[in-house]
């Protein structure tokens, strides 16, 4: 009897296993770590140099999803090519769509570029809107709050820790937001060309203007003829934006053709996208710094 009681005490006092979080992209992995701290064990399915749309349902991803308690995805069809396969192959009911273990960030923010015409003649359009919501830092507050609530729902024992984890993050983030907005004030109203439609949220936040995209339609690579025409029609644009994972050639070609006046700003796009973008805070520090540099 005594042995039993001892065993029971031992079992109860063992730390509960950390919440296994399967993030589809580095930004939600970073956010999950910031909120969950040591209570969560975070895995990122992709890294900054991968286009999160063009990923295969690799065996390693299925193996990780098998053990996950929570999938933190962007949603809005960003991962539509591979995540459904990974989820189905995982044999893990906790993370299937509709379950508490399935979290989609796009459900918690205001979507931009919601197409009025759902036709693939418009390229690879997303019915729910542009999925690249992580380029507006304000979205991290909304997503983070929802994610912290989801953590608490899945792991009620640590609910207070998640709440305070988010509060700490949000306090620092609001402070940083003020700083970034002040730094980026000169960028307001600047006309820019984007390579892929990756930046509506960033441009919306900073009040910059997208005058054209190098891709004739989302997901369709630009031809040389198309780029030549763009050089003519986008006179006055101050820079070309491309993500670290984008093909460097179109932007460089365009910049060279347009003369010295339109530099290429290679933005990290997510955590790990540049040397400087080591975490969520430095991601935006670096983004603003690169934008300011290109605007000079």
């Amino acid at each position: 009897m005594r042995t039993f009681a001892f065993m029971a005490v031992l079992l109860l006092s063992l730390p509960a296993h950390a919440l296994e979080v399967f993030a589809t992209v580095p930004e939600w992995a970073a956010l999950a770590s910031a909120i969950g701290g040591g209570k969560v064990n975070v895995f990122s399915a992709t890294h900054a140099l991968q286009d999160p749309h063009h990923v295969d349902a690799r065996p390693s991803l299925i193996a990780r999803a098998r053990r996950a308690d929570l999938v933190a995805a962007t949603g809005a069809e960003l991962e539509v090519g591979w995540l459904p396969v990974v989820l189905r192959e995982s044999g893990n009911p906790r993370i299937q769509p509709g379950q508490p273990g399935h979290f989609e960030a796009a459900a918690h923010v205001r979507m931009l570029d919601v197409p009025t015409r759902l036709d693939r003649a418009e390229g690879d359009v997303h019915a729910a809107g542009n999925p690249h919501i992580q380029t507006d830092p304000r979205n991290f507050l909304k997503v983070g709050e929802a994610l912290a609530r989801r953590f608490a729902e899945l792991d009620p024992a640590n609910a207070a820790a998640y709440r305070s984890g988010f509060d700490d993050f949000a306090r620092g983030w609001r402070e940083a937001l003020g700083r970034w907005e002040k730094q980026a004030a000169p960028l307001k109203g600047l006309p820019v060309v984007v390579q892929h439609k990756s930046w509506p949220y960033l441009l919306d936040w900073l009040g910059m203007k997208e005058v054209a995209a190098l891709e004739p339609k989302p997901g369709v690579e630009p031809s040389a003829a198309h780029l030549s025409r763009l050089v003519e029609s986008t006179k006055g644009a101050r820079m070309v934006l491309r993500a670290a994972c984008d093909n460097p050639r179109p932007a460089e070609w365009f910049s060279a053709k347009a003369g010295g006046g339109v530099p290429v700003a290679v933005l990290p796009f997510t955590v790990g996208g540049s040397e400087g973008a080591k975490d969520l805070f430095s991601l935006f520090d670096d983004t603003i710094r690169r934008l300011l540099e290109a605007s000079r």
Partner: protein, 460 residues
């Protein structure tokens, strides 16, 4: 808006305009009541206006404007249609076959000139939180419709376990589970052609899969089913006609490499499995095989892309090997044309037959710039070992020595394809096909593959 209050207001308005038939005091009370009501109503309108102004000033409500969770598509169910067609230049060969091998299943791709391959209609959706259903209907150029897949799978068993029932493509080997539009070449490998037929092995049955809780991907699967398709035959009986087992192993090496290896085993029984021959009088005749067929397949796939970003450049290496043994009895099923009365009469047993054959293919596909891919594939089949009563079988059924030949079929293919987007692909393929003894065929194929509707999956 609060409709009852409006109604009261309207009613009181009517009352107020009534001629003064009631006493003055009554009228006064009524007027006072109306005045009170009006005041109350105005207060409420003011409160509502204030709330409206607040709502307008506040940022948009996230719940109303956010993207819905878990939506794979705007459609329910997800609907996709794959259109496939081609023009093929090749020799006119009357009975095109792979020498030394049984013709497996029905063969597509033997039409010269312009042709539709097939259009595939794909429907899938979650049935409820625990089940998912999928159907694939293939519409061939001649108008026939085939149910390629109609299956339900579980979503909620847990512990890495999932079960599928219905008709589905078996997950033995690597390429078998892929549909024609997912292939990297315009046609199936010779191995697939001789093992299960162009479209791969599908059966009506049950599949159980389990993923191990390890960092290294480790999956085991078992399938049982009717086994009515080649190399089995429809035996009209209760119980299991064919069994398949498979194990898959996979992982990443750094950020740029990913791999998967698999080993599969398939077993089927057949009774009077028909094969067409030409007998000694050059009349078509039926050979009937009754016995067991065992197939083992090993597959290996390696993918490389700089930093794992396959959008720009990437290489995919893929190879599969097989070994098949069949043992049973062989008989003559009578002539196909009824006019023949000679050698091959119905039901004549031709003795025992044992075969052991093997082969495989290896291919490499290189995406050298966005949208463009080039590939090379080599197919080989060994002559293998066959033991049978040579005089009986050879003389009666196969004087042309087509199926019992000591011949090593070979084929080399190169392809170049261009994808305008994820949803469209044009392909040019050249193949030197020496699958049939005495025929060296230079084949040129121009093909299109287009997908409409729901986004297809990027399987590994």
């Amino acid at each position: 808006m609060n409709y009852p209050s409006l109604a009261v207001l309207a009613a009181s308005g009517v009352l107020a305009s009534l001629p003064a038939s009631a006493s003055d005091s009554d009228l006064k009370t009524l007027r006072e009541e109306i005045a009170q009501m009006r005041q109350a109503y105005e207060q409420r309108i003011a409160a509502m206006e204030k709330r409206l102004a607040q709502a307008e000033a506040a940022p948009a409500v996230p719940a109303a404007s956010g993207a819905g969770e878990g939506k794979a598509s705007a459609f329910n169910p997800e609907i996709g249609l794959v259109l496939q067609g081609r023009a093929k230049k090749m020799k006119a060969v009357a009975e095109r076959a792979v020498s030394g091998y049984w013709p497996a299943g029905h063969a597509h791709g033997d039409e010269r000139g312009f042709s539709l391959e097939h259009s595939e209609l794909i429907l899938s959706a979650s049935i409820d939180p625990d089940f998912r259903g999928a159907a694939r209907l293939a519409v061939a150029g001649d108008g026939s419709v085939e149910v390629e897949e109609a299956s339900v799978s579980t979503l909620g068993l847990g512990n890495g376990l999932s079960v599928r029932a219905g008709r589905f493509a078996s997950e033995i080997g690597y390429q078998n589970a892929q549909h024609a539009h997912e292939w990297d070449f315009a046609d199936a490998s010779l191995m697939q052609k001789v093992l299960f037929g162009d479209e791969g092995y599908r059966q009506d049955g049950l599949q159980v899969k389990w993923v191990a809780p390890t960092d290294l991907f480790l999956q085991f699967g078992a399938e049982i089913g009717r086994g009515a398709t080649f190399p089995g035959s429809n035996r009209n009986q209760n119980g299991v006609g064919a069994t398949a087992l498979f194990a898959k192993l996979g992982g990443d090496v750094g950020a740029s490499h990913a791999w998967q290896a698999g080993f599969s085993f398939h077993h089927a029984r057949s009774r009077n499995r028909e094969t067409h021959f030409e007998d000694t009088n050059e009349v078509e005749a039926k050979g009937l095989f009754t016995g067991r067929s065992r197939t083992a397949i090993a597959d290996f796939v390696w993918k490389w892309a700089p930093d794992g970003n396959a959008k720009e450049r990437g290489i995919k290496l893929q190879t599969e090997f097989f070994r098949r043994t069949e043992s049973g009895t062989f008989g003559c099923g009578g002539p196909v044309t009824s006019t023949d009365t000679t050698t091959c009469t119905d039901g004549v047993a031709l003795g025992d037959l044992r075969t052991r054959q093997g082969g495989g293919y290896a291919q490499a596909v290189w995406q050298f710039m966005p949208r463009w891919r080039a590939g090379y594939r080599h197919d080989w089949l060994n002559k293998g070992a066959k033991s049978y009563a040579a005089t009986a079988v050879f003389a009666v059924l196969d004087p042309g020595n087509q199926y019992f030949a000591d011949y090593k079929p070979r084929r080399d293919s190169v392809m170049l394809d261009w994808s305008n987007s994820e949803f469209s692909r044009l392909r040019l393929q050249y193949a030197r096909d020496r699958a049939m003894r005495g025929v060296a065929d230079n084949q040129v194929t121009l093909q299109y593959i287009m997908s409409l509707g729901a986004h297809g999956a990027h399987r590994f």
